[in-house]
């Protein structure tokens, strides 16, 4: 019999003390149907959570659901069950990047202000040391779907605003997509980035700015083509069916007029930005009826009649409701979330199951039901992505088409987390790592454009990937220069740590690895588990073993020799293709 029987009663689900795998357990869980993330069903039902994850399964799950596995997290999950992990993560409090920006600002010498490094450092601080790993990991995924970028010369004047944008994504990561869409649309950083902040109604030859109207449809909600519930394109006469026309953009562009900086009044000066509220960079944009188009707004079959009195908030509510309720949203958004967390080429059935969770607002895993029951429930959607059989199936390690390239930021994060890296300053001073030839070629919140670092449909040309009709988004930033940049970044990092300062601010803790330096096979298996969930090839193991053995321990400075052995093993492991590709 499979282990993990759970009796349902009326108390909140709590994580049990560590248990052996396959042990039968009983614990009390919530009954309420109304509370998101709680258990539905009757009293004292037996719920089968299956077998606790193996160490490899736990490590693989953590590679998908967090910024990287480490030994203690693997051990913890190994003696638990996925639902407990999710409940703990859903309950973990959010740490705000905005607060970090305020704290850093307070320490800056007079005349200095925040720069991009501060925002990126705050990202790293939470990615590496934050307890709310799922929230942060999903927020990072969302930041690559709902893109704003410090590379924009206007946005980059508001570093705290960008930090708060990332907070907003994290806040709604466990909420509802409709609220997420509202948060994205109203955030002044998005308003600046896609230029609907300060956007005015038509007048003479002037027409409303169409930027946000276009991108909110193309990138954030419905995409270019009508989709089936499983994410495949609906075909009309054999051709894809476009979701919108330029007329829809013109109609929708009128909605996004009359929004600008928040503040205690709605004067023209505040709309135009000359009267400044000190919190305007982090407050949602407010409406200014004077500048809102009162013309009829017609888009996607929705009509907002001409308004006698301009009602920007009413127009926005109708428009966002219409977008949110478009049947494309679940499969369009769900597939991208799968691509960010699990695999570049999910099966249609997998996308369909995630879209179903999005539509119904619920996801059930072995009797554990998560979600509020409202369309767009993010907890249900995220859980559906991560607990789907296709995501959890360990035999997928042998599927030559499954998985995704770990983008450079995630590779560095996995290394830091696997080896307990800590920041001496506490501020994770890694900074911007944009340069592809000498660094990671990627920094959080610094995408080159609203189209992210890579497109979800990117196909690397002239490759077997293209021949197999697969997409590989992250390959868009893998090239002859960037592979060297990453290689040299890691060559220095494994030995000297990363970040500014001397010694460098962020240092790995290799004490567990150093203890295994005399025993290459044991160290290899440790790295194999933590970095690649047991997927290390025999060839890579041989190379690491040979390299470690090439450093003699029969020397005066055996400490340095042991360190060199660890450096070699870690560099080789983090350079191996089976690490670069997360399966």
């Amino acid at each position: 019999m499979r282990g993990g029987w759970v009796a349902r009663t009326t108390r909140a689900l709590t994580r049990p003390a560590a248990r052996a795998r396959s042990a039968s357990i009983t614990l009390v869980v919530a009954l309420s149907m109304s509370v998101a993330g709680c258990i539905g069903g009757g009293d004292s039902e037996q719920v089968d959570y299956g077998t606790s994850p193996s160490s490899a399964e736990a490590s693989r799950f953590l590679a998908q659901a967090s910024f990287g596995a480490n030994s203690s997290e693997i051990t913890k999950l190994q003696s638990s069950y996925y639902p407990y992990w999710f409940e703990e993560q859903f309950a973990a409090p959010q740490t705000l990047h905005k607060d970090q920006m305020d704290a850093v600002s307070a320490t800056l010498p007079a005349g200095q202000s925040l720069n991009d490094n501060h925002v990126v450092n705050s990202f790293w601080k939470q990615a590496i040391s934050g307890q709310d790993q799922l929230r942060q990991r999903v927020a990072f995924a969302l930041s690559q779907i709902f893109v704003v970028s410090l590379q924009d010369s206007t946005v980059s004047n508001y570093r705290r605003g960008v930090a708060s944008y990332l907070d907003m994504l994290g806040q709604h990561a466990f909420g509802n997509f409709r609220e997420l869409l509202e948060g994205v649309t109203r955030h002044p950083m998005m308003g600046l980035y896609l230029s609907h902040l300060r956007n005015q109604k038509e007048s003479g030859n002037r027409v409303p700015d169409q930027n946000y109207a276009r991108e909110v449809m193309q990138l954030f909600t419905i995409g270019l083509y009508e989709l089936n519930p499983d994410g495949t394109q609906k075909l009309v006469n054999g051709q894809p069916d476009e979701t919108y026309t330029n007329d829809d953009i013109v109609g929708l562009s009128r909605v996004f007029t009359g929004f600008s900086w928040a503040g205690p009044d709605k004067t023209d000066a505040r709309f135009n930005g000359s009267t400044v509220d000190p919190s305007r960079d982090v407050l949602p944009m407010q409406s200014y009826p004077k500048f809102h188009s009162t013309l009829e707004k017609r888009f996607l079959g929705t009509v907002i009649p001409a308004q006698g009195t301009a009602d920007p908030d009413g127009s926005l509510r109708i428009a966002l409701d219409a977008l949110f309720n478009h049947p494309n949203v679940g499969p369009f958004f769900g597939k991208q979330l799968i691509q960010r967390l699990v695999t570049s080429n999910p099966s249609a059935a997998y996308v369909g199951r995630v879209a179903q969770a999005f539509a119904t607002g619920r996801y059930t895993y072995r009797g554990w039901t998560v979600g509020s029951g409202a369309r767009g429930d993010m907890k249900a959607t995220i859980t559906a992505v991560l607990l789907d059989a296709e995501a959890r199936d360990l035999t997928k390690l042998n599927d030559p088409n499954f998985g995704k390239v770990r983008e450079p930021v995630l590779r560095a994060a996995a290394w830091m987390r696997a080896f307990g890296a800590r920041s001496a300053s506490g501020n994770y001073l890694l900074g911007v790592t944009d340069d592809a030839a000498s660094s990671l070629g990627q920094s959080a919140m610094r995408s080159p454009s609203v189209f992210n670092f890579y497109r979800p449909g990117y196909v690397p040309p002239n490759t077997n990937i293209a021949t197999a009709n697969l997409v590989a988004p992250e390959f868009q930033i893998i090239h002859e220069s960037s592979v060297v940049g990453y290689g040299n970044f890691m060559r220095t990092a494994v030995q000297s740590g990363v970040g500014s300062g001397s010694p460098r601010d962020i240092q790995p803790d290799y004490s567990a690895e150093l203890a295994l330096a005399d025993n290459p096979d044991a160290l290899i298996e440790r790295l194999n588990l933590v970095l690649m969930y047991g997927a290390m090839t025999a060839e890579t193991k041989t190379e690491i073993r040979t390299a470690m053995n090439s450093v003699s321990l029969n020397v005066t400075n055996v400490t340095a020799a042991r360190q060199n052995r660890v450096y070699l093993a870690v560099l080789f492991a983090t350079s191996a293709p089976e690490f670069i590709v997360q399966k």
Partner: protein, 459 residues
């Protein structure tokens, strides 16, 4: 004398090339020998300068005659440039455009100089088309149109693809040209080169684009010398990086890119070590100039690399000027002017200017209408072609009347292109060395644009 030598060498190469069979990329016909003879023998390159975001063409090349400028000014209102700011960059009258005069954006002073020197041409209102299209046909959707007009990522793709295809296109026209010309190069890898990341333009069926860093060759530090106290570990590390036996498609491809990187960067490192010094300084804080500088250096060592036909790609962004157009567009134009000016000097230092043609491209043009302080996504746009081989000092195509409601206006003053990207690309390709047949192989829709769709800016 030089003429004879180059002609003889040319014919020798021609017969050598013909040995390669029917698919051999050999192109130059007798009509082009005259032009070729004025050049360093056996080398030609085109350089695509892509302006990401959709350049505001309306403020890039502006009607300068008083009445026409007034129309422009009244149409654009708050985002129009004053006529008196355009005096220094005015060109014309242009006979080919009925004697009309134009002005470049005030920051494009070097472009004006090159135009006056006869080395820079303007191609007016060029954009993606499948067939020649009238406004009525566009409105009735009675002819095939490029997909997803006005969308950034799709139109970036459409511009670069060999036939108008939105995002997801696999083949770019530069890459297809490379396919047909690469056999002339010793190393196929140095045929299509991007200094700016993955570029669809350079994707061919056979050639694989090489992506060079602005700093030139980059090498894995762990592959040279002792690695963490081990003399042999570097070799093992190389095996980790270059093992291409994985069954997983992604893993294998990562290793292939890395293998290519190690090989090509080593060749480039050796070649660049012998590069002549360029004395014109690289404009500071100008990533476009840094990219063009590495292109110049690679052209400088073309013989060492065995390169005879090359397609380069450089780019910079920030052109999606929905807001703050006047200021932000001005910054972009200054950046481009400084970078292109330096590149022109580097080509002259290398006396290779007659063999290298730079051309601009962008997602799309932008609306004539203002949205307050910016413009929105459009279609047709004006572009520049620059180089010693260019028949410059002229405006090709048909420069539109800058008013609303014209036969070119498909809404908000967006331009229905009167010259197709295929014509633009085909003209560049023929100069690069494609036969007429090859041009239609590269650009399947080329023949839709008349009996001889070539534009006159290159022979």
């Amino acid at each position: 004398m030089t003429n004879q030598v180059s002609r003889r060498r040319f014919l020798k190469t021609a017969s050598a090339m013909s040995m390669l069979g029917a698919g051999a990329p050999f192109a130059l016909n007798l009509a082009t020998i005259g032009a070729a003879s004025a050049q360093v023998p056996d080398y030609r390159a085109i350089v695509c300068l892509f302006m990401f975001g959709g350049n505001d063409h309306t403020n890039t090349v502006i009607p300068y005659d008083l009445a026409e400028h007034t129309d422009y000014f009244n149409a654009r209102t708050s985002i129009a440039l004053d006529r008196n700011a355009l005096t220094a960059t005015a060109v014309g009258p242009v006979a080919a455009q009925g004697g009309r005069s134009f002005a470049f954006h005030p920051a494009l002073t070097a472009f004006k100089q090159q135009y006056d020197a006869g080395k820079l041409a303007v191609v007016a209102n060029v954009g993606p088309l499948v067939v020649p299209t009238t406004k009525a046909q566009y409105q009735a959707r009675s002819v095939q149109l490029p997909p997803k007009l006005f969308s950034h990522n799709d139109q970036q793709s459409v511009w670069q693809a060999n036939s108008p295809t939105g995002e997801g296109a696999r083949l770019g026209w530069g890459g297809r040209m490379g396919d047909l010309l690469a056999a002339q190069n010793t190393d196929t890898i140095f045929t299509c080169i991007s200094a700016s990341g993955n570029a669809l333009l350079l994707s061919g069926q056979n050639v694989i684009q090489y992506q060079v860093s602005s700093s030139g060759a980059v090498n894995f530090s762990a592959l040279s010398g002792s690695l963490f106290g081990s003399a042999s570990a570097g070799t093992a590390y190389r095996r980790i990086l270059t093992r291409t036996t994985a069954s997983h498609l992604f893993e294998n491809e990562v290793s292939k890119v890395t293998t290519r990187s190690i090989d090509a960067n080593e060749k480039l490192r050796v070649a660049l070590a012998g590069a002549p010094a360029l004395t014109t300084p690289i404009p500071v804080n100008n990533s476009l100039a840094s990219q063009l500088n590495v292109v110049a250096k690679m052209i400088a060592v073309r013989n060492t690399l065995g390169a005879k036909r090359q397609v380069f790609f450089v780019s910079f962004g920030g052109f999606d000027n929905h807001d703050f157009l006047i200021d932000q567009h001005n910054q972009r134009m200054q950046t481009m002017n400084a970078a292109v000016n330096a590149f022109t000097s580097w080509m002259q230092e290398l006396t290779i200017q007659n063999n290298v043609t730079l051309f601009t491209a962008s997602d799309f043009g932008r609306t004539l209408t203002s949205n307050g302080d910016g413009s929105d996504h459009g279609w047709g746009a004006h572009h520049f072609v620059l180089g010693g081989a260019v028949s410059g000092g002229n405006v090709y195509g048909t420069f539109p009347v800058v008013r609303f409601g014209t036969n070119d206006d498909v809404g908000q003053g967006n331009l229905l292109p009167t010259t197709s990207v295929d014509q633009y690309a085909g003209t560049l390709g023929r100069w690069l060395g494609l036969t007429n047949t090859n041009v239609t192989t590269v650009l399947p829709n080329f023949a839709n644009f008349g009996g001889s769709p070539y534009l006159g800016f290159l022979p």
